[in-house]
């Protein structure tokens, strides 16, 4: 395959950029290649994200339509393909209203900052071998750190709007984010225990070397990370920060036009970031058991990313919105203990493996089966444990509202 590995080889876009940067380094000052690679990488990421946004937003609306037995957008362009473009033009041309008593600076800054964390996360995610903007050796920790600051622009939006619904939405979002951050970090810790590195490309390389994906070794952690990620990006089963039925539109109640559009864009970017992190850490990133030699790695990576995003869409179309106390209780009483037990077993397994110097081929399948059994057993056992002693939560027959002692309005005795 040597003859294909030239700069014009589309299977690896990195080659062309690499050749260009090498040429720059030969003919210019030392700092030029760094600057150029930063600029090229950022622009590429932005273009990729915006194109994905337009396509996925359309796909999501069509799929939601299908799930809900209706058509979805089908008027603008063939199969409604240009619907997202039309929506973007609509958002850009609508009036951006600033109400009278808002905190002007913070109000304007929040929609600008809201998409930044998701963009920054993509800097450490490898799209292909060597196709990464900054291969930090603390990549996993970096992702966690950036995830922890996503709450700040949302809080700024909610607080500066001078509207109680906005503030309620912002408080809910912040409370949710700091609760779900803990199981999220503990889920990622399992990956680091197994791979012994926090470098994203190192984690992908480990999965490639051992011919496995970490989803098999850490099924419980994937589930926990997926749920925590869904909460972090604020999508429908867990979007209590912008629950229409309770608090108008939450933290972006007062925003209109493109400023509202930026929150919408930020939400999708964060969704892509979560899907990309899961694809990299748990699904082997740009590798697919040898297929990456024939198909460009970034296509495999993107296929995994979009497939994971489909789960978010599916969840949105299927599950009803949770209540805030249920969501918080779920993080602290269910996900946190399970994540801790998962960490304990991951550490135990790696210790057994390293201390006895067992062969990876023999040990990893055993761990995979053991961890799957552990995950299913833990989920079932913990759910039963939490549900015990509250028979009124599991009624054997339908009961009248009066029997439960609730007040029925208009029928007070």
């Amino acid at each position: 395959m040597i003859f294909l590995a030239e700069w014009w080889d589309l299977r690896d876009l990195g080659n062309a950029v690499g050749a260009f940067l090498e040429w720059l380094g030969d003919h210019g000052p030392d700092w030029l290649p760094y600057t150029a690679s930063a600029v090229i990488g950022s622009i590429t990421l932005l273009v990729f994200l915006v194109v994905s946004l337009l396509m996925v937003a359309w796909a999501e609306r069509r799929l939601l339509g299908r799930i809900q037995a209706r058509l979805g957008p089908n008027r603008v362009g063939p199969w409604g393909l240009l619907q997202s473009v039309a929506d973007a033009i609509k958002m850009l041309t609508k009036e951006a209203i600033t109400s009278a008593n808002v905190d002007r600076w913070v109000f304007w800054l929040a929609p600008i900052l809201v998409a930044v964390p998701a963009l920054v996360v993509f800097a450490v995610l490898p799209f292909n071998e060597g196709m990464v903007l900054a291969d930090l050796n603390v990549g996993v920790l970096f992702v966690v750190a950036i995830g922890s600051v996503t709450a700040i622009p949302i809080f700024m939006a909610g607080w500066s709007s001078n509207n109680k619904f906005s503030l309620l939405g912002a408080m809910r979002e912040v409370a949710m984010l700091i609760s779900y951050e803990i199981p999220q970090v503990l889920a990622l810790l399992g990956v680091v225990i197994f791979t012994n590195t926090m470098r994203m490309s190192g984690i992908v390389g480990w999965q490639d070397d051992h011919n496995t994906w970490l989803i098999f070794l850490q099924p419980l952690a994937v589930l926990i990370y997926f749920i925590a990620g869904a909460v972090e990006i604020n999508r429908t089963p867990t979007d209590i920060a912008e629950a229409e039925s309770e608090i108008v539109a939450g933290y972006h109640t007062e925003y209109s036009g493109i400023k509202f559009g930026m929150f919408w864009v930020g939400e999708y970017f964060a969704g892509f970031a979560i899907a990309a992190i899961i694809a990299t850490l748990y699904l082997g990133g740009w590798t697919l058991w040898g297929l990456e030699e024939w198909v460009p790695g970034w296509i495999i990576f993107l296929a995994k990313l979009y497939a994971l995003f489909w789960f978010f869409i599916w969840m949105r179309g299927t599950l009803p919105r949770l209540r805030i106390d249920q969501l918080m209780g779920f993080a602290w009483k269910f996900l946190l203990p399970l994540a801790l037990i998962n960490i304990f077993f991951a550490g135990l397994e790696v210790l057994l493996w390293q201390e006895n110097e067992l062969a990876a081929e023999a040990v990893l399948p055993a761990f995979a089966i053991g961890n799957l059994v552990l995950a299913v057993g833990l989920i079932v056992a913990w759910a039963r444990f939490l549900g015990r002693g509250r028979p009124q939560w599991r009624p054997t027959r339908a009961r009248l509202v009066k029997e439960l002692g609730a007040v029925v309005y208009g029928q007070e005795a």
Binding site: D30, A145, I146, V149, A151, I152, F155, W159, V174
Partner: protein
């Protein structure tokens, strides 16, 4: 510190960190002060990066910009009438005294220190070394800190429990 990039980055980050820290003191609005504090934390994290202390830099963002500042925001929101005004305080004189003492100490250290450039070059990866130090040599302080934090958490829950 010989290459252009580090010097440009150092000055930009320093200006951001110091200017934001000044605005924390100058801002009348408490929420604005906290937002400037976050900006200052991020600037300091950038400075750690230029010192090739990547683990400390990321931890700075995770703990200070992500967790501590959110804690401060909550504290402000839960304090009546604090969110919209940075009111006068009777602690101005003690505050000034403490600030002056800190400034004198820092200034003395800056003047006394021999500012030679380190000759050993950039650090290798620090995360692994820090992890090993925490769980090997300094495992007792690490465990004690964990127990203290756990005790604080239990204490907080006991304080706010209604029964």
């Amino acid at each position: 510190m010989e290459d252009v990039g580090s010097i440009v980055a150092f000055w930009m980050l320093s200006v951001i960190a110091v200017a934001a820290a000044l605005m924390v003191v100058a801002a009348r609005n408490l929420i604005h002060a906290v937002l400037f504090l976050i900006l200052s934390f991020i600037g300091v994290a950038g400075l750690y990066l230029t010192l090739s202390a990547d683990f400390v830099a990321v931890t700075q963002i995770l703990i200070y910009a992500g967790a501590i500042s959110v804690l401060i925001l909550f504290a402000i929101l839960l304090t009546p009438r604090a969110a919209r005004d940075n009111a006068e305080t009777f602690l101005q004189v003690p505050g000034l005294v403490v600030a002056a003492l800190v400034a004198v100490t820092m200034g003395a250290i800056v003047l006394v220190t021999d500012w030679n450039e380190a000759t050993r070059g950039a650090f290798p990866e620090t995360a692994e070394a820090i992890g090993e130090a925490l769980l090997d040599k300094y495992v007792l302080p690490f465990e004690i800190a964990s127990v203290v934090l756990l005790a604080a958490m239990v204490g907080a829950i006991v304080l706010v429990r209604e029964d």
